[in-house]
């Protein structure tokens, strides 16, 4: 009897302890959630206030008016349909090509053993570590020289395809790295039985591995879309016609030469952030499983 009671008390004690722990963890998570959410909320709050109001009364004053004027102004000034189209014309091919080429290399280096496969993987991963600012001058000169050589100066420079190519080149290292690590978690036996059944290399890739890669491709796809979508640098240095540049450049249109209307800019940034959010929510389930799959290996 008394032992039962003691056990019960111990259980209660444990439960209480757990409760305190849980509360502590919740508070901890809560604090970080606020730290993360604050800038977003502040951006949206800023976007609802007219600049004139802020200029006259300061950033921390109580707002006299709150409205959506900044949004209508941003939409008209940013020339949204054109720049969204430009972004799509760069981001979509770049993401698909990156995933395609990345998965091809990952497949070869992780499924076949030959002399240079590890070095090849290292080469691709190392290429990922070079900062864009370091290599943009040679890339730029290469594009110009190539354009002059074929007599069409705008074949790569000042063309969306030039930007697509550089994104593919830059993101492929990371894509190869992630996909090959993921592929290594797929049991060798699957490949072996495919080969025993007489699958050629390409059938092995497209019919066996690719379907298994789907979660990894989806999560990589989300990451790549966000990165390429957010790029401003390459589009700036490799293009000279502003009306060909992506949405990140259109955000610059909201910024005056001297005056920066942060309220208007906040509205523009909110609008520009929407597509990546949509991509994330569409692929959310795949994204989460892609991130954790393979993590339980071993």
């Amino acid at each position: 009897m008394s032992i039962d009671l003691e056990l019960q008390q111990a259980a209660i004690k444990y439960k209480n302890k757990q409760k305190v722990k849980d509360r502590f963890i919740s508070a901890f998570i809560g604090v970080f959630a606020i730290v993360w959410i604050f800038p977003i909320v502040w951006t949206i709050w800023t976007s609802l206030r007219p600049y004139k109001d802020v200029r006259a009364h300061g950033v921390f004053s109580m707002p006299k008016t709150l409205n959506l004027d900044n949004y209508t102004e941003a939409i008209s000034r940013m020339d949204l349909p054109l720049y969204f189209w430009n972004t799509a014309a760069i981001t979509i091919p770049a993401v698909f090509l990156t995933l395609f080429f990345g998965s091809l290399i990952a497949f070869v280096v992780s499924r076949y053993s030959f002399k240079w496969n590890v070095s090849l993987l290292l080469l691709f991963t190392a290429g990922n570590l070079l900062p864009a600012q370091l290599v943009f001058i040679p890339v730029f000169k290469m594009y110009i020289t190539l354009g002059k050589a074929v007599g069409m100066p705008r074949i790569l420079y000042d063309s969306p395809w030039g930007v697509v190519l550089i994104h593919v080149a830059f993101q492929m290292g990371f894509a190869t790295f992630v996909l090959s690590s993921y592929m290594k978690t797929v049991p060798k036996e699957i490949s072996e039985s495919a080969m025993v059944d007489g699958a050629s290399v390409f059938v092995h890739y497209s019919k066996v591995m690719l379907p298994l890669l789907r979660p990894a491709l989806a999560s990589l796809g989300v990451l790549m879309t966000t990165w390429i979508y957010n790029d401003f640098f390459w589009a700036l240095v490799l293009m000279s016609t502003d009306s060909k540049r992506p949405i990140t450049s259109a955000l610059g249109r909201l910024q005056g030469e001297f005056v920066t209307d942060y309220n208007l800019l906040a509205a523009g940034a909110t609008i520009a952030a929407l597509p990546t959010l949509i991509v994330f929510f569409v692929l959310r389930k795949q994204f989460v499983s892609g991130l954790t799959l393979g993590s339980t290996k071993g």
Binding site: R55, A56, I144, S240, D242, G256, E257, V259, T260
Partner: protein
């Protein structure tokens, strides 16, 4: 020139005059029209996406197209992005004519062979500009590479109503002691005397420029920026010593504010004066006409009687023609029009979205100063007093020195004003470490 061409240009001149409908312009257009040929379509690279300059450009281009029948493709890029990328832009597939700045900023690219020679343009419109503009448009090889559009002065700005309330008279603030006394009075009333922001890194360069020019004179200033004098010179120390005297009267958050934060202090009547380029007047105008009418400018006070108030930062904006463009003749032809009084009038006739004229102080001496608003007239007076015109620190020295070196150096001085010797040392070392210009 063939008869056919003559016929075309005469007709287009008549049309241009009719379309423009500008009585004053007609005389000029006849002269300019003689040289104008059908130079074909060209591309125009704008260095701004702001409403005012865009309206001006559109008006100018419309007038040019109406006159010459040459199509103009318009390519506008946000100014910071445009500026940072200019080197690539000029080496790649640039527009034929593009907006840029006079002085060192232009010479830097002219030296690299990226700008087209505009001596021909100056031969035909040069007499409409005073000598100082021609000098600012001339490259190191003595040829012109630039056509000026407009200018603005850097000076001390204040609000007339505030001075009235404080019982101050701007005419009495002519030298350093008087100025410090005035700042002291403002401080006692709880006001910021000298509003400043330097978060962007360039804002305070204007203060360095003017104090250096006042203390050490124009020649030392330009020699210093060109590397002929040393940053470790005691004269530079003297500049910081004077500057430090202003520190107690500045807002304490200089490094947290961009220039517009400082402007807000002036607008909200929390600050008594601000050293800035007069372009920001547009913000006051946007706020309200009353605020704009209240804005006033005086030259920065004298420090060293030897130099008086003889120097001013007055950046000149304008156009160049890109050597790598597809139509250099077209670009030059456009600038001949834009720099001529006919083009200037077309630009001045541009209206903003509220239907109001956009204030501009043109570089062309043909602009009727009687049409200036009171603030513009004050700008002109400030400008007229100066004997020497400088462009601005980041336009008067190497681009790879101004932004990456001088900007952060001044910011670090704000953090620790006692570190002057160390900062001077760093500046000189970094200047010496720069690669030679190609």
């Amino acid at each position: 020139m063939s008869d056919l061409n003559n016929g075309i240009s005469r007709r287009s001149v008549l049309k241009g005059a009719a379309v423009g409908g500008l009585g004053l312009a007609a005389g000029g257009s006849l002269l300019a029209g003689c040289g104008s040929k059908a130079t074909g379509p060209l591309a125009y690279g704008a260095r701004s996406v702001d409403a005012g300059p865009t309206a001006q450009n559109e008006a100018l281009i419309a007038a040019y197209t109406a006159k010459t029948k040459n199509e103009v493709k318009y390519n506008a890029t946000e100014s910071n992005a445009f500026q940072n990328n200019l080197s690539q832009y000029l080496q790649g597939t640039p527009d034929d004519t593009f907006e840029w700045m006079a002085g060192y900023r232009m010479q830097f690219f002219a030296e690299q062979g990226l700008l087209a020679d505009l001596t021909g343009v100056w031969d035909s419109i040069g007499d409409q500009y005073s000598e100082s503009y021609k000098i600012a448009s001339t490259g190191l090889d003595g040829k012109q590479y630039f056509v000026p559009k407009s200018w603005y002065p850097w000076g001390l700005h204040f609000r007339k109503s505030m001075f009235q309330d404080l019982g101050l008279n701007a005419d009495n603030v002519t030298n350093w002691d008087e100025y410090l006394k005035m700042l002291d009075g403002m401080k006692k009333k709880g006001l910021v005397g000298f509003a400043a922001g330097d978060k962007g890194g360039w804002e305070a360069m204007g203060t360095f420029d003017i104090i250096n020019a006042r203390v050490n004179g124009y020649q030392f200033h330009v020699d210093l920026l060109a590397g002929r004098e040393k940053w470790t010179d005691a004269k530079v120390t003297d500049v910081f010593t004077h500057w430090a005297q202003l520190l107690p009267y500045m807002n304490p958050n200089v490094l947290d504010l961009e220039w517009d934060g400082a402007m807000q202090l002036l607008l909200q009547k929390k600050a008594g004066s601000m050293l800035m380029g007069s372009w920001f007047g547009g913000n006051f105008k946007e706020q309200s006409d009353a605020d704009y009418a209240d804005l006033s400018i005086i030259p920065f006070p004298e420090i060293n009687p030897e130099h008086g108030r003889d120097t001013i930062d007055a950046p000149i904006d304008g156009w160049c023609v890109a050597a790598n463009g597809t139509n250099n003749d077209g670009g030059a032809d456009f600038l001949k029009f834009a720099g001529d009084m006919e083009g200037v009038n077309a630009t001045l006739a541009a209206k903003d979205k509220d239907g109001k004229l956009i204030p501009m102080t043109s570089a062309n001496s043909g602009q009727d100063t009687a049409s200036y608003d009171p603030f513009q007239k004050e700008q002109l007076a400030v400008m007229a007093e100066a004997k020497y015109i400088t462009q601005f620190l980041d336009r008067d020295t190497r681009p790879d020195f101004a932004g990456p070196v001088v900007g952060p150096a001044i910011q670090s001085w704000f953090k620790n004003p006692k570190d002057v010797a160390k900062i001077q040392d760093t500046l000189q070392k970094q200047w010496e470490a720069l690669p030679p210009l190609a």
